[in-house]
């Protein structure tokens, strides 16, 4: 009886062993794609797809980044990827592919094809960060910062915001991009990555898109203000001028909120409230900083900030795009479902902005 049971068990085990193989592939038989770049091909209507591959290092103690870039042109992205399989001896594995760089020429024309592909790929749809590469995606992929140990790691860290806390970078996931393309009342944005030579890249601008292509590129200063409005606790510094001296304060915590006020039909406006708790970081004068002065610095900083923010908001309004999702916000709070977006369309160009900044400089930063 007992031996019979054991035999059955053993047989089951053996049968199970034969099932092996359909999905079993050792890690050393896979090659990891860490970034995808998509540029327009030579022929009109084709894509030039570039893959950045991370090659595992045999000796971990040596800092020796090995990477390989594959390029293939085709009118379909999936076709290009399938063809590239024949160029390497191992299986291409996309599970660690966290960044997709769109060439600027594609972004200037139409991003919807690529976005559609990216959200359909089941293995990367939830992890992919999007960015625009300048001058092209391939150039950005070729950048190899000296601080990097794993290929493309710096790109991934910068784009996802896990590494640097730069106030100039916003991270955009593929599904977020997709949503803002197809949702009424919100327009997509994309960070721009500029390749500067072989060893450096710069991410400090945001491109505003009108569902399809780039319409407006914000300057680094505007990008920072944009990030201040779109997320909380932005770590940055802002200037404040007081009596001929220049002060810089560091934002320890920041928050912003807005309200769309449309009670008066002829005078709709958006009221922005920005609250910042700050620490004084820099002082160009030799003056002693007193508690009273901190208050004054805060007031003057708030005035400057609200002026700059108002200018940015007017610039965005005049471009006709809605990267903050004000339209969505408006639609969500009104019941006239058939007409609300049309009303919003007519309201939007007439919108005015009231920005109330509140800067509280808590501490002079000096050792007492």
């Amino acid at each position: 009886m007992r031996t019979k049971k054991g035999a059955v068990f053993l047989l089951l085990l053996l049968v199970c062993m034969t099932v092996t193989g359909c999905n079993f592939k050792d890690i050393d038989r896979r090659i990891f794609v860490v970034a995808i770049g998509i540029d327009p091909g030579k022929v009109e209507g084709t894509f030039k797809v570039s893959l950045k591959l991370a090659i595992p290092q045999g000796d971990v103690t040596k800092i020796d980044e090995k990477m390989q870039i594959l390029t293939e042109e085709s009118e379909s992205i999936s076709e290009a990827l399938r063809r590239m399989k024949s160029k390497v001896e191992k299986e291409l594995d996309y599970v660690h592919c966290k960044s997709l760089i769109l060439g600027e020429q594609i972004a200037a024309k139409d991003i919807r094809h690529v976005t559609d592909w990216a959200v359909r790929r089941r293995d990367i749809q939830l992890i992919l960060n999007f960015a625009v590469g300048r001058p092209g995606a391939l150039e950005v992929l070729q950048v190899k910062p000296p601080s990097e140990r794993i290929p493309s790691n710096s790109l991934i860290l910068a784009m996802s915001g896990q590494g640097t806390e730069s106030p100039f970078i916003s991270s955009v996931y593929s599904y977020q991009l997709m949503r803002s393309i197809y949702e009424n009342g919100i327009d997509p944005i994309l960070p721009i990555i500029e390749a500067q030579g072989e060893e450096q890249f710069l991410i400090d601008k945001i491109a505003l898109l009108d569902k399809k292509k780039i319409k407006l590129v914000l300057t680094p200063d505007e990008t920072r203000l944009f990030n201040l409005l779109s997320r909380s606790n932005l770590r940055t510094n802002f200037p404040a001028h007081l009596g001929g001296g220049m002060y810089q304060y560091y934002t320890e915590s920041s928050s912003s909120s807005y309200r769309i006020v449309t009670q008066q039909e002829d005078n709709p406006y958006i009221r922005y409230n920005i609250k910042i708790r700050a620490i004084l970081e820099e002082n160009s004068t030799e003056d002693m900083v007193t508690h009273h002065m901190l208050k004054e610095i805060g007031e003057s900083g708030a005035a400057e900030l609200s002026k700059a923010v108002t200018a940015l908001l007017i610039k965005i309004r005049d471009s006709g795009m809605d990267p903050m999702g004000w339209g969505l916000h408006y639609g969500a709070r009104h019941w006239n479902n058939d007409t609300e977006m049309a009303v919003w369309e007519s309201l939007y160009p007439r919108l005015k902005f009231q920005v109330k900044a509140d800067v509280d400089v808590k501490y002079s930063g000096m050792i007492k």
Binding site: R2, K25, I27, D28, R30, P56, Q57, V60, K98
Partner: protein, 455 residues
């Protein structure tokens, strides 16, 4: 004889009633023509030589019960007692009771087996008692009785083995034990047909009903304090002559992860240590399986850094990951087994040669990945966190199930295996008690209060 005893007063009768079921109770009548004297003592806690020299011999030399009684009562350390509970306490702590004409005198004949008691080997703890059960049943009973001085602790003796005639003692606290468990145990012991019984583990095997079981259902321990602790929880202990281990039953899964010094530590430290142990079990069970799952099926779960690291360290490895894992694990088992059999002096050498040199050489030769070496050592070390050997061995075997499941189905296999074993554990019973319940006593607090308040 009974008439004589009755005349000696209610107290002695009452004591007999209290101590009924004590297999090691010695109840004697010493008689000379001029009268007789009752002698009552518990063998396991008293010294037989002291009694024969200082209690029995003088009686026959003097030949006069009354004079003898006053001789005993005047003996240093002796005590005349009229109160029942005090009498029981003295008897249990190693006094012999001499009764003459209704009077009771207690003679100090305590046997403390100090010299013969060895230190614990397999269940060492950092603080707390280090006495281990010895190989003589008398010594062991003495160790238990000294730690559990209650009249409700009963001992019953039986003999198992047609050839070996092994003396087996069943210990239990009458007021706390679950009598169904006791009955089931006795029934099983009675139905045993054996020639030779030599070890506690062997007996454990015979009294467990399930033949193809993976987890131990009864604790096999060498610590008298663990036995006492479990007796107080209402469990039954079975002790064998000629073996240094006792069996405690019924036992639940959680019991195997309790070390005896958990109670000594500060609350947070104790809990932290327990958490460490559970974490250790998780590591030793799952790490090899997860390694296979991550390297061969689901590399997306780990970070890209680790994925590349594993990929790099496996670049030279010729065989698939599960072959690598099973190879190294078997090697590690060889080492563990080998160092167990080796004499103490050579043991460390074997570990050094095997662990360090072999591992280093294997990676240098490119036969296994660097990560694998780390993994194997973590698995080996965390396995030893389990305080009881039986469970430690079970877990050691169990991890191969996970390895096979991972090799066949990847991460899904590990999860299926885990669910399967959880279900198996839940279905298990140890002498009718649910095996996987968290605490043996549902009302742990009340029991402790009862204990400290005194019954």
């Amino acid at each position: 004889m009974s008439g004589q005893l009755h005349k000696q007063g209610v107290t002695l009768e009452w004591i007999r009633g209290q101590l009924s079921g004590f297999g090691d109770l010695e109840d004697k009548i010493m008689a000379v023509p001029s009268g007789e004297v009752s002698l009552l003592y518990i063998k396991s806690v008293t010294d037989g030589q002291t009694i024969s020299r200082n209690v029995v011999a003088p009686f026959y030399e003097m030949g006069d019960p009354a004079a003898y009684y006053s001789y005993i009562a005047d003996y240093p350390g002796s005590e005349e007692v009229t109160e029942g509970t005090r009498a029981l306490d003295l008897l249990l702590s190693g006094y012999a009771c001499i009764g003459q004409a209704g009077r009771l005198c207690f003679f100090d004949a305590l046997k403390a087996e100090v010299s013969g008691v060895k230190e614990t080997i397999t269940e060492s703890i950092s603080q707390g008692p280090s006495d281990a059960l010895g190989e003589s049943l008398a010594v062991n009973l003495n160790l238990i009785r000294r730690r559990y001085q209650s009249s409700s602790l009963k001992m019953e003796f039986t003999i198992i083995g047609n050839v070996s005639k092994t003396k087996v003692a069943i210990l239990y606290d009458e007021s706390r034990v679950n009598h169904n468990v006791l009955a089931e145990l006795k029934e099983k012991l009675d139905s045993l047909k054996l020639d030779v019984l030599q070890a506690a583990g062997e007996l454990e095997k015979y009294i467990s009903s399930d033949k193809l079981r993976i987890f131990p259902k009864t604790i096999v321990t060498e610590r008298p304090d663990r036995v006492v602790f479990n007796l107080a929880e209402g469990k039954v202990a079975v002790m064998l002559d000629t073996t240094g281990y006792a069996i405690v039953l019924p036992s639940i899964f959680n019991d195997f992860f309790t070390a005896m010094d958990d109670k000594i530590h500060l609350p947070f430290v104790g809990r932290f240590l327990k958490l460490l142990r559970i974490l250790g079990v998780a590591m030793t069970l799952w790490l090899p399986a997860l390694y296979i799952a991550f390297t061969s099926y689901n590399p997306e779960i780990v970070r890209v850094q680790i994925a590349l690291l594993i990929g790099g360290s496996r670049a030279t490895v010729p065989y698939p990951s599960f072959v690598e894992v099973i190879l190294m694990m078997i090697m590690m088992e060889f080492l563990t087994e080998a160092s167990l059999r080796l004499p103490r002096a050579i043991g460390p050498t074997a570990t050094t040669v095997g662990g360090l040199i072999l591992g280093q050489a294997a990676t240098a030769a490119g036969l296994i990945g660097n990560i694998m070496i780390i993994l194997v050592s973590v698995v080996a070390i965390s396995n030893f966190l389990i305080p009881l050997n039986m469970m430690s061995f079970s877990i050691r075997v169990l991890k191969y199930f996970f390895v096979v499941a991972a090799a066949v189905l990847g991460l899904v296999g590990v999860v299926i295996c885990l669910v399967g074993f959880t279900m198996y554990l839940c279905s298990q019973r140890s002498f009718g008690q649910p095996y996987f319940k968290l605490f043996f006593l549902d009302t742990l607090g009340t029991t402790l209060r009862k204990k400290s308040g005194g019954e």
